[in-house]
């Protein structure tokens, strides 16, 4: 008797589920492959547009980003100065456009550098294992013991503020992320059949690393790189904002925010537009990275 009513309950539940989600839900995955690619292409075009503006910045800029005009200092957005002017009358729009090139090239170079270094170290560490692996991993443990940007702040603090020192400080921490990622993948792959067969087939170690392991870790590395563009840009801008990275008068977004902070009450447009530029860029690249991950790493489904 009890059993029968339980079964009846199950049938009713399944019926309710079916009614709630419908047959469509059972047949169609949340997002088709085509949809994923479409999303990726849209964000890729957006990212390219942002890049395009960044590198054409000097051409598009209506004014010289360093030209001061004390007569027009701290003027609000107007038809002459779309984004207003700063405390010495420099055009904010022009400074943002010029700053874009700086911010971008720096971010890209850094992401490229740390990912190449980290991936190489991680592959070697994971593939060979043993004492070398232990040493490298313990070293990354130590670096990871410093929360977030604390270590970068410390390095800049010790060797002195400046752009080059900031780059050094951030790279010192950031490669560990890639090293740990590829190390994990490589150490699993080490004992896979295709690697062992390649070894027996006479492929030399560099060949195994670059022709067999690298292609297999690359998708994840690329996804991480794309997602890191936003993070790196935020870290760089954050250090500039603290006045630790870029030196005036070079236009750079983080530093513009730092300057804009002093004029929050009289000229909020300085910080508004500089921040907006960072925000939009990071948003576009985060969305791009996310859509790329959905294509290359379909774990979530």
């Amino acid at each position: 008797m009890g059993q029968a009513s339980e079964e009846k309950g199950a049938v009713i539940h399944r019926y309710k589920e079916w009614k709630r989600h419908g047959r469509k839900a059972l047949l169609k995955p949340a997002m088709t492959k085509k949809g994923k690619w479409l999303r990726f292409i849209i964000f890729a075009i957006l990212a390219l547009a942002v890049l395009f503006i960044a590198f054409l910045g000097p051409v598009l800029a209506p004014y010289d980003p360093l030209a001061t005009d004390y007569g027009a200092s701290l003027s609000p957005p107007s038809p002459e100065h779309w984004f207003g002017t700063d405390n010495v009358g420099r055009d904010v729009l022009s400074r943002i456009l010029y700053g874009a090139g700086n911010s971008f090239s720096l971010t890209f170079i850094m992401v490229a550098a740390v990912s190449v270094i980290g991936t190489l170290i991680g592959m070697v560490s994971g593939y060979f294992g043993g004492i070398l692996d232990t040493i490298i991993m313990r070293f990354t443990d130590i670096l990871l013991a410093f929360p977030d940007t604390v270590f970068a702040i410390a390095v800049v603090g010790m060797i002195g503020p400046g752009l080059l020192n900031t780059i050094l400080a951030l790279s010192l921490v950031w490669w560990t992320k890639y090293a740990r990622l590829t190390r994990g993948l490589a150490s699993v792959m080490r004992s896979k059949d295709f690697i062992i067969q390649a070894k027996f087939g006479g492929v030399k170690t560099p060949g195994i690393l670059f022709r067999y392991i690298l292609p297999n870790v690359l998708p994840q590395v690329v996804v991480t790189m794309t997602l890191d563009i936003g993070g790196m840009m935020l870290s760089l801008a954050g250090l500039s904002f603290l006045g630790l990275a870029s030196q005036p008068p070079t236009p750079e977004w983080g530093y513009m925010l730092y300057e804009g902070k002093s004029y929050l009450q009289t000229a909020p447009w300085i910080m508004l537009f500089a921040g907006l530029a960072i925000f939009i860029t990071v948003l576009v690249f985060n969305l791009l990275g996310d859509s790329l991950r959905d294509i290359l790493d379909p774990k979530e489904e």
Binding site: A145, V150, I153, A237, F241, L257, L264, N286
Partner: protein, 313 residues
């Protein structure tokens, strides 16, 4: 379990040892050494001979490892040196500023959990419904927003325009609102996504399908089974969030003139107060590593797979 804690403590000591070594080594990279800094802080330019004599007295001509040993010995005795700017011990400085940072981090952490949890769970349970899309959409905005810009915007709207708060933070309830909001919003956005992922993974597992087919109500499945299981990965997330809270403090504290150690270190960097920077780095690392150890132990205590295995043994 005791064995595990002992093992982790040994690892912890090794890592902290490495932390002190690394911190000491980056000090060696500083362009001016302790002897020079001493004279600079007194406002005099010493002759090369005097400088050399001071170096000898301070032991700066000894091998680096000997210097490190001596320094570590002092650090272990709680002596982090004397701040060159404030001419008082680093420990006194830190013990005055650290509670402020911890106050900010703790309040933000609690509020973050209180907001992120319900939203993350809601988003997972209502997967691909409008509320899920809305939460995910907003969280993407929050993740991409530089926290210093968010802080400036909040400051402009609520302090400059509306005049609800002071631009410079005061140490009371009104003063902590804006810094906490600035620290919390981006973190809520990050963790909502991760909590959603953790809950979804549980929702897709076989035992949920089994429970559903046995006619157990959806509410009981979620609150009785899914949430306790999803709690595990979330506990780890909270451990990681401490790093964000402490690291982010430097920017937020500077922005709002909050008198914590983040603000202190930025000031210390400007005046090249090396002992103070050292003290900051070591303290941050110690706190972070300790919190993560506690989280790992808690994880073990919560995980029934590990807890029950012990009983079988």
């Amino acid at each position: 379990m005791i064995q595990y804690i002992a093992k982790r403590l040994v690892q912890l000591i090794a890592v902290l040892f490495g932390v002190t070594f690394l911190t000491f080594m980056i000090t060696q990279a500083a362009p001016s050494d302790a002897a020079q800094m001493q004279y600079i802080s007194m406002g005099t330019i010493p002759s090369e001979e005097l400088l050399e004599q001071t170096r000898e007295e301070m032991g700066l001509n000894d091998p680096v490892l000997v210097q490190y040993g001596r320094w570590l010995w002092n650090v272990l005795h709680g002596d982090l040196g004397t701040s060159t700017k404030f001419s008082e011990s680093v420990l006194t400085q830190m013990s005055r500023k650290l509670p402020m940072t911890i106050e900010l981090a703790a309040v933000s952490g609690v509020i973050m959990v209180l907001i992120a949890f319900p939203l993350g769970i809601l988003s997972a349970v209502k997967k691909n419904k409008w509320i899920d899309y809305l939460i995910r959409f907003l969280s993407f905005f929050g993740i991409s927003m530089p926290n210093f810009w968010l802080g400036l915007l909040l400051m402009y709207v609520f302090a400059v325009r509306l005049g609800w708060f002071h631009v410079v933070s005061t140490n009371d309830i009104a003063g902590i609102v804006l810094p906490v909001a600035t620290l919390t919003i981006p973190m809520v956005c990050t963790y909502v996504r991760q909590i959603r992922a953790a809950v979804l993974e549980e929702l897709n597992s076989n035992y949920v399908v089994g429970a559903r087919s046995r006619g157990i109500s959806e509410r009981r499945i979620i609150f009785g089974h899914v949430l306790p299981n999803a709690l595990l990965p979330i506990v780890t997330l909270i451990g990681l969030s401490v790093g964000h809270l402490l690291g982010g403090a430097a920017i937020i504290e500077t922005l709002f003139s909050w008198q914590g150690i983040g603000n202190m270190v930025v000031e210390a960097i400007r005046v090249r107060d090396y002992p103070l920077i050292q003290g900051y780095v070591i303290w941050m690392a110690v706190i972070y590593v300790m919190v993560n150890l506690l989280v790992d132990i808690m994880y073990r205590l919560l995980d029934p797979q590990i807890r029950l295995r012990k009983k079988v043994d």
